[in-house]
């Protein structure tokens, strides 16, 4: 029926609202908008700015000029940069493997029927819960050149005669910071894998047992394949966290001795902020991206091979 007043706007706006409410595309767009703004503002823009800065000679307090690949060309010829790349790869590789092995082992133990199971699971999380800076400070004391509790204990036991030079010797320093990172990272791996273990149906394990599978064969042919998707995700995150680690190194050694523990992240900070070379610092940070992408691709395409999960050989 026509509107006698001739004013049809309320019904038109009502129709628009109705159409909007019924439109899956429009609603989807609106619901995604906050996340999209967040991603653009806090991820895409800083990343883009970082990449751009890497191509400039920007310094603190001074807008830079475009210098092309000059920063990267300098880094290619910079021994300290390559040492930091080496340190980062070793740190990430060794720490990730140790975290995986020990985390999986811990998860398997926690998945067994243990007394006070919930209590132990809560305890295991503690290193992850403690702020990194605090645990780093604790390790700083543990590794102190003069007051290390480890050195003191070993000296009291008569096993060594003088304190271990944990952070002063390049090899010891690398091992020490890796140990601190492993201690801190194990809970994340262990609890995540424990969650994965609990999704494996007990009936599969029982069926394998009835077929005469040994505990090792049950682990190898039932548990591990079923756990692989979780392992892929957990290890991807673990590798990313380790590769980009900053706080532990900054507190324990600041990259010393003689840059033996400088990671790309700490070198990027040192050159970019206190050193004022924002362009070069950004270039070092951007140089981390290929390594990060490679590790992500390895995790996703290397560990999520479905045939292997299903007992095939790929």
């Amino acid at each position: 029926m026509p509107n006698p007043s001739g004013n049809d706007s309320p019904s038109r706006s009502g129709t628009l609202l109705l159409r909007f409410n019924n439109s899956r595309n429009a609603l989807g767009f609106v619901f995604m908008l906050p996340a999209a703004i967040f991603l653009l503002g806090f991820l895409t823009y800083p990343l883009g700015l970082g990449v751009w800065l890497g191509f400039t000679d920007t310094r603190i307090g001074r807008a830079g000029d475009f210098v092309g690949l000059q920063n990267y060309a300098y880094l290619m010829d910079d021994d300290v940069f390559w040492l930091s790349v080496f340190n980062t790869v070793v740190y990430t590789f060794v720490a990730s493997i140790l975290k995986f092995a020990l985390g999986l082992w811990l998860a398997l133990i926690l998945n067994e029927k243990l007394p006070f199971k919930s209590f132990f699971r809560a305890i295991v999380l503690l290193p992850w819960v403690v702020p990194t800076v605090l645990s780093a400070l604790a390790f700083w004391w543990i590794y102190d050149a003069q007051f290390s509790i480890l050195s003191w204990s070993l000296m009291k036991l008569g096993l060594i005669e003088q304190p271990i030079n944990f952070l002063g010797d390049p090899i010891n320093a690398r091992a020490s910071v890796i140990a601190a990172n492993v201690w801190r990272g194990i809970p994340f791996v262990a609890i995540s894998l424990l969650a994965g273990l609990q999704t494996i149906p007990v009936s599969l394990q029982e069926a394998a047992s009835l077929d005469g599978a040994t505990p090792w064969k049950r682990f190898r042919y039932v548990t591990l394949p079923m756990l692989t998707p979780i392992i892929a995700v957990v290890m991807t995150f673990s590798v990313l966290f380790t590769f980009t680690d900053f706080q532990l190194i900054y507190v324990l050694t600041k990259g010393g001795p003689v840059n033996a523990t400088h990671l790309m992240a700490t070198l990027s900070f040192q050159r970019g902020i206190p050193g004022g070379q924002l362009g070069e610092g950004a270039a070092i940070a951007v140089a981390m991206i290929p390594f990060l992408l490679a590790s992500i691709l390895f995790s996703f395409f290397g560990l999520q091979r479905r045939k292997w999960q299903q007992g095939g050989t790929d």
Binding site: G61, Q146, F147, G256, V258, Q270, R271, I273, G275
Partner: protein, 436 residues
Amino acid sequence: MKINRRDLLAASASLAGAAGLGLTGSQPAFAQEPAYTPEAGASLRLLRWAPFVQGDEDAWLANTKKFTDATGVQVRVDKESWEDIRPKAAVTANVGSGPDMVFCWFDDAHQYPDKLVDLTDLGTYLDGKYGGFYDGLKGYAKRGDKYIALPLAAIGNAVCYRQSRIEAAGFKEFPKDTAGFLDLCKAMKAQGTPAGFAHGKAVGDGNNYVHWLLWSHGGKMVDEAGVVAINSPETIAAINYAKALYETFIPGTESWQDINNNRAFLAGQISLTANGVSLYYAAKKDEKLKDMVADLRATNFPIGPVGMGVELYQTTQAVVFNHTKYPNACKAYLKFMYEAEQMNAWITGSSAYCCQPLKAFASNPVWTADPIHAPYAKASETLRPNGYAGPLGYASAAVMADYVLVDMFAAAVTGSATPEEAVAQAEKRANRYYKV
């Protein structure tokens, strides 16, 4: 009677100036007194380094309260660990937001001079009124003819040692030259009471030590024109001397950061190191260390082949950022804090940790209140700037921030590089900043 803002501005400088003149006993001709009227509704935020001596903070805050009481301008004083000031000030400069004023370190102000409020009128006035800023400090604060910062203090650094232990090592008094110093350190190691100086990435102690090593042997990072000159026979001599000294240290100094030598000294693990006067006060606070306090002595670093005392001291400057909405309030605040009454109270409260920026305050009684203070008293007068012998600027700041010299000595003394390799590496890194 309540003092209003106008009264304060008119009277504070003259009253305080009179106090200053009383100290110096001279009648300097000083530049015309600038008057700063704080903007209506002004409130300020100052970021400073966390104090090492509590009296420093107490005195600064008490002076600040006096300023607020007199002007109504609220001043929030935030503090951060001293190592975090440099990056925070840098970010503040870059993003144009944050505190109105910062107490920055060394040549920070030269990294972002365009972001700072010109303080020439205030600097010139204070320079004229209080006997002049010390040249070394002035260099950190001036760019050309402009004050881009106000020199605030030099943080004195001195060799701290146990008298009984150097005597036990066969030395009645502390050696005056580097050769004697090496002999002392060897003797101290032989008797199990070694020395220890930071070779790790210790921003303060590490840089102070290695700059003395280099300069005392005649080496320098750059020449007067800012051309990198580290690769020299003098540098090699300094490194060889450092290697010999390092052999006498307690093990582990390669990993030492700024706090480690304090801990080791207070625990009796080392008997000789270099530090600010805070080490003495830390010992004094501990009842159990009474004997150590009585035995503790401080002196300046020994003189090397160069024939004169040459030391790097940390310097701190007050800067006002362009982004402040209240530049006049900032200047009024700084002017108030630098006037004699407040400055003397602050220097006294700092217990010899902060050495005065202006010559008129050299007669502050704090310097004679305790014999330990004596070697710290001349820090502002004798300091050599870190960019020596070239101009201060972003390159000199970056070379120090990137630990170029610290790494050079650490690499050589630990044997991870030969002296020649270590120097070549340092030269390459320095050239990057000085843009060859």
